[in-house]
């Protein structure tokens, strides 16, 4: 029995299972909710299996169908991809439970296959070992995400989905042109082989520029963030949660992989530029969030700001800074999913999400408001949350490298975040002028938001284990990393 568990290709199962789940949900729409939940649980089990395998046996490489690189498709799981997979599994399970109470039957029938397809694409992306496979999974992810945004069906949602699709396709085509140039220069698309053969040439610089630009557009780094707030705010709530928590981080993950392993060292100037854009995003996103009158838009602009923090690691470039950014990403994913879910509960409860008209939500939906505030604590970066650990590591790296101005950005960003979180919490305690009829919110939806927010805070207390996990396979030792 134990041998079977040891030799199980968990990395392949992690992709096949949600795919099978999506197909079954599509073919058997009347049972899509229980089948979808079963699929979600199965994925969590497979990720646990993979975690055990990677911890016990080190980084795993699978040659799918027995065709190895350079011709075939390889899957590769090291500490970095494992941690991202685990985070996706936790947030994904939360979103699945939340959605089972959120959607009516007519929408649920469409939601479940699309959501499981998206999960398949995401897991495949995190396990891909070659840059062309990354392109294909990125497109699959984009297509299912666009279809999910359009699910809301209103004019806002449809135009936001259309804009999202066009932007996404533009980003992936830029990336693909970069892949073509890299393949031409080195005759391979495998990340490990590319890292070995990397040499500087004009074609490589063009490829680096094109791929980075495409991925930055998809990660919505300032000033390329214009498409994100409408798309994330007009989608159905579980979709907003999974877009803000999981989908934007996929393109960041690819950029990080390329930056750490493939791109030639000596890109210090480019690192400073990314850091500068990230800093602007932190401030701009924070100010815009503060100006919003609708809760979902506020949270969407907060995502723009939080994405900016991740790019502060690029000018620093130490392994401590990378880990800090990743820890920030993990806790942001959980906290942001919880925040959108809390906003969804408020929306369901009062029928609107105008911040100024929140009517005594604190007394009437205490669990939801607790979830929102706990998530806010992590996003602000107050101790003992996961966000605090991430920001602390970035601060430490900034002082270590003598680049103290990034520390200033971190602190100002935190203050802006505190301002917009307290703005919402403040209105939630007071009585609004227009009282509204309240409708019931299912308990499962309230508890899911609370548990995810708690997980984001607890992430700060259990930091050493995930950070040690990141070192498996030494993802931070090659390329531009020091």
């Amino acid at each position: 029995m134990e041998v079977a568990v040891e030799n199980m290709p968990w990395g392949v199962m992690v992709i096949l299972l949600p795919l099978a789940g999506a197909l079954v949900c599509f073919l058997w729409p009347r049972r899509s909710v229980p089948l979808g939940l079963l699929g979600a649980l199965g994925v969590v089990a497979c990720v646990t299996g993979l975690c055990w395998q990677v911890v016990e046996q080190g980084a795993q490489r699978y040659t799918v169908g027995g065709w190895g690189a350079p011709l075939g498709i390889d899957l590769y799981a090291d500490g970095l991809s494992l941690l991202m997979l685990m985070m996706t599994a936790v947030v994904g399970l939360g979103i699945s439970i939340y959605s089972s109470g959120y959607f009516e039957h007519k929408t649920a029938v469409v939601f479940w296959p699309l959501w499981l397809f998206l999960w398949t694409a995401l897991n495949a992306l995190l396990l891909s070992a070659d840059i062309f496979n990354l392109y294909v999974t990125l497109e699959l992810l984009g297509l299912s995400a666009v279809a999910l945004v359009a699910l809301a069906g209103g004019a806002d949602a449809l135009t936001a989905a259309m804009r999202y699709l066009l932007v996404g396709l533009l980003g992936s085509l830029c990336y693909l042109l970069g892949v073509a140039l890299l393949y031409h220069s080195f005759g391979s698309v495998d990340i490990a082989i590319l890292a070995e053969r990397m040499e500087l040439s004009p074609a490589v610089w063009a490829a680096v520029g094109l791929m980075s630009a495409g991925l930055l557009l998809k990660t919505a780094l300032f000033p390329l963030h214009f498409w994100l707030p409408p798309a994330h705010a007009s989608a159905p709530v579980p979709v907003s949660a999974l877009l803000s928590a999981l989908v934007v981080m996929a393109s960041f993950y690819i950029l990080l992989r390329l930056w750490l392993e493939v791109f030639p060292p000596g890109a210090a100037a480019a690192g400073q530029l990314l850091g500068l854009l990230g800093a602007t995003a932190v401030l701009w996103g924070g100010i815009q969030a503060l100006r919003q009158t609708r809760l979902k838009l506020l949270i969407a602009y907060s995502t723009v700001a939080q994405m900016g923090y991740l790019f502060l690691a690029f000018p620093l470039g130490t392994s401590f800074a990378w880990k800090g950014a990743l820890y920030l990403l993990l806790s942001h994913a959980m906290a942001k999913a919880a925040m959108f879910m809390a906003a969804g509960n408020i929306l369901r409860f009062g029928g609107h999400d105008r911040i100024a008209d929140l009517d005594r939500v604190a007394q009437r939906l205490p669990l939801t408001l607790a979830a929102f505030s706990l998530a806010g604590i992590s996003i602000m970066g107050l101790p003992p949350s996961g966000g605090f650990i991430g920001k602390w590591m970035l601060l430490d790296a900034a002082f270590y490298r003598g680049q103290w101005w990034w520390a200033l950005i971190l602190i100002m960003g935190g203050l802006l975040t505190a301002a917009y979180v307290f703005k919402v919490v403040g209105y939630a305690f007071t009585q609004a002028e227009v009282t509204h009829e309240a409708s019931r919110v299912p308990a499962g939806m309230e508890w899911t938001a609370l548990v995810l927010a708690l997980a984001a805070v607890l992430l700060g207390l259990f930091a050493p284990w995930p950070l040690a996990l990141l070192d498996i396979g030494f993802p931070f030792s090659g390329g531009c990393a020091e």
Partner: protein, 102 residues
Amino acid sequence: MNSILLYALAGVGLFTLGLYALIVHAHLLRKILAINVMGSGVFLVLVSLGGRTPGASPDPVPHAMVITGIVVAVSATALALALMLRVQAKTGQTLLPEERLE
């Protein structure tokens, strides 16, 4: 200049042309077509660079990539066209809101 480089440069030209059209034109159908032109440009670059050693038989791997890319492009175009029709049915216009003339 050899013919392979000519094809590759033509591909880059198509990509740029598509990018220009994507930004300049407001009508959604034109934007979708522009994306398709950009895609064809990238495919042309991939295929032409596959034959980079003169005389030898061309490298088959880029061709496999292009076939995958075409499958992706067809599905993306189908989704885009379906979305465009829904946008038109809901708003009566085939434009993104920011490009409407007041």
